[in-house]
Symmetry: C2
Subunit: 390 residues, 2 copies
C-alpha cells in the first residue's frame, strides 16, 4: 500500500527548503550573534501608528477590513499604490495595473506560475535573491545567471547572451540595494534593460523591497519608466513591517487579470485588515517620506558601525560600501565561506555564505552580512568573533 | 515579437475565473438583494475583541507579531490549534502536525500542488465547493465526482467506483453543513470513508469551514479520528472574520514538512499579526464556545426566516432543512436555474445556480441560497422577488 509520502508528486518529493532557512535553524541559539537573516529591527516598527490604523480598520462601519474582498486588492490600497507608481514612472498608472499580493514573495510565485514552463529560460541576478530562485525554481526553468556588479545586473552580459542565442522569457533583478550585494542598478543599465526587453521580447521582473532605505543615494526611475514589458514588485516588509504580508505587482492590466485568476485559487485575496492598515498609513500626508528618512538614518548608522568594525577585526575581508538597504557584501579571497560558517557558528556568529545566492549553487569566497538585526555593540562583538575564526 | 500575453504558459492562458466570481460581478448592483455570496454578516464581527487582540499583538514587546515568522506558523497559534484537534479527534496531536495557512484556500492550493499531477484522479463532492474545484482543477486532474445527499458524500458510491477500478489519489469533501447543499457527513460514513482510505490507499481532504455554526446538530468526530490518511482543514473565516485570512491544515508531520516547503516559496508565511490575533482570541477561556453559540443562534433565525419566506413565496421550490452553516439548497423541478438567474437579476435578486458547483459543469435545476448576508426583512423581500420570476 502506498504511504501518504509515496502519493506526493515527484516535484513535491524533490522540493527543497531554502538554504538560508537551514542556516537560520542551524544558528538559532541564544548565544549566536546573527548577521545572517534580513529581519528588520523591531525597534523600528511604527507601533503607535499601526495601532491606530488597526483600530480604525477593525472599526470601519462597512466591516470591509474584516470581510472577504476582491482578489485584485482593496480599491483604497490600489489607488494609493497606483498613484505612487505613476509618480515614480512619470506616466499614468491605473487601478487595474495593480495587484495586491500576500507579500512580494507571492507576486514572484504567481509570475513564475503564469510565465514559466519547465525548461523555459529565466535570467537572474548572480548572486541573487534566494526567494526568487526558490519560487521560480519550483517551475524547473533553465537558469541563465547574469553577473551582478556594484551597478547591478550586467546588461552587457545579458545582451551578449541574447546575441549568442539564449532566449530568456523572464529577466529577474532587484534594482535598489540588491540582495545580497547591495548593488544599485545604474540608470544607463535600466534604460538598456528596457531596450533589450523591447528588442528581444522578454518580460522584466524588477523587484524593489529595499528602496525605502537609502544612504544619500538618489532615486532612479524604475525600469518600467521605459518599457511596457516590466512587472514591478513592491512590499511594505522593510518600510512598515514584514508581518503584515502586504506586497504588490504593477503590470499591464491584461497580465494583472491572469495573475489575479491564479491568486484567486491560491488564497482568494490578501488580508483585508492588513490591506486597510497599509492604505491608511500610506495615505497619511508625508507619512512614508518621514518613515523612510527615519529608517535610512537608523540603518546608515548600523551599516557604518558594522563596516568599521569589520575593517578593524577582519582586515583581510573586502567589504562593499553600502548605499542603502540592509546588507553588506564581503569577500575573503581564497576562503570557502560555507566551511567557514561552521567554525563561525561555534564562535557565536553567523552569516550567509555567498554560495547560497548562486542559482547554480557554486562555491564561493563571498558572504552576506546584515546590520539590520543587531544593535551597534552587538555588531562590534559579532565582527570580533568573525575576526577570531578568519 | 511575442507580446507579454503570448509569453504566458498555456495553463495560465486557459485558467478560468470562478463562476461565482462572475455571478457576483453580474449582480453587484445596489438594487439587487443577493442570496448568492457566502459572506458573513459584518454585524457578527467581534469588533471589540478584535481591537484589543490587535492592540495586544502590535504591542508585543518582542515585536514578533510584526516580524517575519516561521513558515509553519507561530508556536502560540499552532499550540492552540493542535490542542483543539487533539480534543476533536480524541487522540494526540502535536505542534508539528499543524501548518498555518493563508486561509484554508491556501491549504487546498498547497495540497493540490503536493499531490496532484495532471491526469491524476481526484474524487470530490458533487455538487461541491467551487474553490476546491478551482485550486485542484489548476493541476488538471481527472475528476471523479461522487454524489452528495443530506448525509454527505456517498461513500457507497465511492466504494463502487474504487471496486470498478477508479484510483483517486485524493478524496475531497466538506464534512459539516457542506457547501453548497448543507449536508452533514453521517458518522457511519465518516468511519466508512476512513476505512476505504486505509484499504485503497488514498488521501482524504476533510474541509470544515462551517462547523462552528450549528442549529442543534451534535458534533461528530472528524474522519481523522479513524485514519492517519486524512488531512483536516480549518479556518476562522466563518467564526471570527474572513478578512484575517487565517486557516490551517492538520496532517502527519512528514506531510506538513512538504506543504511548508511549498508554502515558503508561495508567501513565506501567513501574516504574523493575524496569527497572533487569532491565537489571542482562541486562547481566551470559553471565548470560541460563546462565539459559536452567538453565531449559531444568529444564523438559525436567518435560516428559518428565509426558509419560511421561500415556502410562502416560491411554493414550487423544494428547500433543504438546514442543520447549520450558511446555505439553503433548493430545487425547482424542470427549471434551468442558470437561465433563471438572468431573469432573477432583472427582478433584483441573485442566487448561485447549482450547475456552478458541478465539477463537470452540467446543467441543473438546483440552486444555492445564502441567508448570511441579508437581514430578515431583506430575506423576505428577496424571496418575494424570486417568487415573481419562478
Amino acid at each position: 500500500m502506498a504511504t501518504l509520502q509515496d502519493l506526493l508528486t515527484d516535484d513535491a518529493k524533490t522540493s527543497r527548503s531554502s538554504v538560508i532557512r537551514e542556516i537560520l535553524a542551524l544558528v538559532d541559539a541564544d548565544d549566536v550573534l546573527s548577521l545572517a537573516g534580513g529581519m528588520p529591527d523591531p525597534a523600528t516598527f511604527p507601533i503607535d501608528d499601526l495601532t491606530t490604523a488597526a483600530t480604525n480598520a477593525i472599526g470601519t462601519p462597512s466591516g470591509e477590513a474584516l470581510q472577504y474582498g476582491r482578489t485584485e486588492g482593496m480599491t483604497i490600497l490600489r489607488q494609493v499604490l497606483s498613484a505612487g507608481a505613476a509618480e515614480r514612472r512619470s506616466r499614468s498608472c491605473a487601478l487595474d495595473d495593480v495587484l495586491v499580493t500576500t507579500g512580494s514573495q507571492q507576486a514572484l510565485d504567481l509570475i513564475a506560475r503564469a510565465f514559466v514552463d519547465p525548461g523555459d529560460e529565466v535570467a537572474i541576478d548572480d548572486p541573487g535573491y534566494l526567494g526568487a530562485v526558490q519560487a521560480i525554481g519550483s517551475r524547473k526553468p533553465r537558469w541563465l545567471p547574469i553577473p551582478v556588479d556594484p551597478d547591478g545586473i550586467d546588461t552587457d552580459a545579458l545582451e551578449s547572451a541574447l546575441r549568442a542565442g539564449r532566449q530568456p522569457k523572464l529577466v529577474y533583478t532587484v534594482t535598489d540595494f540588491q540582495n545580497p550585494t547591495g548593488a544599485v542598478l545604474h540608470p544607463d543599465r535600466r534604460r538598456h534593460l528596457a531596450d533589450l526587453a523591447d528588442r528581444w521580447g522578454f518580460v522584466i521582473v524588477e523587484d524593489d523591497p529595499y528602496g525605502g532605505i537609502r544612504f544619500g543615494e538618489p532615486e532612479h526611475p524604475p525600469v518600467a519608466t521605459w518599457t511596457d514589458r516590466a512587472l514591478s514588485l513592491g512590499t511594505v516588509s522593510k518600510t512598515i513591517a514584514p508581518g503584515l504580508r502586504v506586497g504588490w505587482v504593477v503590470a499591464p492590466p491584461e497580465i494583472v487579470t491572469v495573475l489575479a485568476r491564479l491568486k484567486q485559487a491560491s488564497d482568494l485575496h490578501t488580508s483585508t485588515l492588513n490591506q486597510r492598515i497599509v492604505a491608511d498609513l500610506l495615505s497619511r500626508p508625508g507619512w512614508m517620506d518621514r518613515r523612510r528618512a527615519t529608517l535610512s538614518s537608523f540603518y546608515e548608522t548600523r551599516a557604518r558601525t558594522l563596516r568599521e568594525a569589520l575593517a578593524r577585526s577582519v582586515p583581510t575581508m573586502s567589504v562593499s560600501d553600502p548605499r542603502g538597504g540592509l546588507f553588506l557584501w564581503g569577500e575573503l579571497p581564497g576562503a570557502d565561506t560555507r566551511a567557514l560558517l561552521d567554525r563561525a557558528a561555534d564562535a557565536g556568529v553567523a552569516f550567509v555564505p555567498g554560495a547560497a545566492f548562486s542559482p547554480t549553487d557554486r562555491a564561493s569566497s563571498t558572504l552576506r552580512l546584515t546590520y539590520a538585526t543587531l544593535d551597534p555593540a552587538e555588531l562590534e562583538e559579532a565582527a570580533r568573533r568573525l575576526g577570531s575564526v578568519v
